[in-house]
């Protein structure tokens, strides 16, 4: 499976996201279910710059591939990842 492109998960560590709990997502990598472990790459991000954009909900934000997830929690991120993998593991 190593040649499959991994889905990139970027956790925003900017001010707004951090004070609204993005640091709790630091345990995401350990909490990934077995079927996602090798499919996902979790990284930090200085700022996703969406907190001042009204098209999105509330911080904390996570970017999964190209998709922005608001009010992000470990459970919510895993849910989105499962949907993506089920839909063919596309990075889009």
């Amino acid at each position: 499976m190593s040649d499959v492109k991994k889905i990139k998960v970027e956790i925003c560590l900017g001010t707004t996201c951090y004070v609204l709990g993005s640091f709790r997502l630091s345990s995401l990598e350990e909490q990934l279910p077995p079927n996602l472990k090798d499919r996902v790459e979790v990284v930090g991000c200085a700022c996703l710059e969406v907190c001042h954009d009204r098209n999105y909900g509330n911080a904390p934000f996570v970017r999964i591939g190209e998709r922005i997830v608001d009010n992000a929690t470990v459970e919510k991120v895993i849910e989105v990842l499962q949907e993506m993998v089920a839909a063919g593991g596309s990075n889009e």
């Binding site: 956790i11 925003c12 560590l13 900017g14 001010t15 707004t16 951090y18 004070v19 609204l20 640091f23 630091s26 345990s27 990598e29 979790v42 990284v43 930090g44 991000c45 200085a46 700022c47 710059e49 907190c51 001042h52 911080a59």
Partner: protein, 397 residues
């Protein structure tokens, strides 16, 4: 080297006599920017503890005041001796002092009374200083010495209390009569030979710890102080925080980083993103560090930049820690530790503040109050100047 290219780093490191809460030696520094003058005073009060501290503090305060106003040397010394309270036990009033009045690019004066003689080092060499002795008619047993020197870039001036000179007194071997000026000088020369650009702060610490280690069981049997004044090429630091008011300025903003000769800190997610985009240098944020980073987002990395941090929370935390007279009882976040260390190592700090406001920070539903960037940077500038004697420049972008 032009006068402006010399920074006078003045530091003093101290350890208290074992069992005492305060140090019986005191020091004061003052920078008179307009006159290109730097003043420094070290005093050792008789005995140790509060009484000694009081004598020493009175002495440094008076000496600094007198030297600043160019009062006659003998009159100043007599006034200090007349003013100090008399010790109940020893029936004398006493505190030693060394006063430096440095004129960069001109003649400097040093006034000494009973401290171990100061050391003037140039390229590691102990320069011979000629001293003019003066005695007071009213205090015939006290000897005040005046010397005049020309200090140039690269020079170091070092003075210590007798806690250094008498370290190891009574111990068998080489230092049975104490470390003395010779022993300390040899140690200082070796330390500089191994690290020619060692800062005043690091050198003063090394001397004090080395002195303590000469004593039996590594104890402080006296207050131990070492003051180092180092005339050096300024160590520069640039801190960028906040996005520029107009996006058209982003490229010029990032160029500040590309062209800077010194250390660089980027403080703020958007700030880091702008520089990363303009200079094509990726930001490396290690998510695994989050758990170890304490209560703030972890330090991040970028090529050619010494530290990348979150903005407002980090700057607020660092400012509070720098302002606090006693260390805050909360654990120091990793990122604050790194930023404070970079500030402390630097002489000239340029704070560039992008003035675009992030509306999301003004949301009343946020669980913490976020300071306006400009205000927190002003506070930071103030504490770096007044408490840490840094030369600080602030500008808006």
């Amino acid at each position: 080297m032009a006068e402006n290219d010399v920074f006078v780093e003045m530091e003093c490191f101290q350890l208290c006599h074992d069992g005492e809460e305060v140090c019986g030696d005191d020091f004061l520094f003052e920078r008179l920017e307009g006159e290109n003058r730097h003043l420094a005073v070290l005093s050792d009060g008789l005995g140790s503890g509060i009484k000694a501290n009081l004598l020493a503090c009175m002495t440094t305060t008076m000496a600094l005041e007198f030297i600043r106003s160019d009062m006659d040397v003998m009159l100043s010394a007599e006034t200090i001796m007349d003013t100090l309270p008399v010790c109940e036990v020893r029936k004398i009033s006493y505190a030693t002092f060394t006063v430096f009045d440095l004129q960069i690019g001109g003649k400097s004066r040093i006034i000494e009374m009973d401290n171990p003689p100061f050391i003037h080092l140039r390229n590691g060499k102990d320069l011979k200083v000629s001293r003019q002795a003066m005695t007071s008619e009213r205090w015939p047993d006290r000897r005040v010495q005046l010397s005049e020197i020309y200090a140039v870039a690269g020079d170091r001036l070092i003075v210590f209390s007798d806690g250094v000179a008498q370290a190891g007194l009574g111990q068998p071997g080489k230092y049975k009569f104490g470390w003395r000026r010779e022993g300390a000088l040899e140690f200082i020369q070796e330390t500089i030979a191994a690290d020619p650009a060692i800062s005043a702060r690091d050198l003063s610490q090394k001397v004090v710890y080395a002195a303590r280690s000469r004593n039996k069981d590594n104890r402080c049997i006296d207050d131990i102080s070492c003051m180092v004044i180092y005339l050096r090429k300024p160590r520069k630091l640039l801190l960028l925080t906040g996005p520029p008011f107009r996006a058209e300025s982003d490229a010029a903003y990032a160029d500040l980083v590309r062209n800077f000769d010194g250390k660089v800190i980027l403080s703020g997610g958007t700030t880091a993103n702008i520089v990363s985009r303009e200079l094509q240098r990726p930001i490396d944020v290690d998510m695994k560090l989050v758990m170890k980073a304490g209560s703030l987002p972890p330090p991040a990395r970028m090529q050619g930049v010494d530290l990348v941090t979150e903005g407002i929370l980090t700057l607020t935390d660092v400012t509070q820690r720098l302002e606090a007279d006693t260390p805050l009882d909360t654990p120091v976040p990793l990122v604050s530790k790194e930023m404070i260390e970079l500030f402390r190592q630097s002489d000239e700090i340029e704070l560039v503040v992008g003035t675009k406001v992030n509306e999301a920070h003004q949301d009343p539903s946020l669980p913490v109050d976020l300071e306006i960037r400009r205000n927190i940077v002003r506070r930071l500038k103030n504490v770096l100047e007044t408490k840490y004697r840094k030369r600080v420049l602030m500008r808006f972008f």
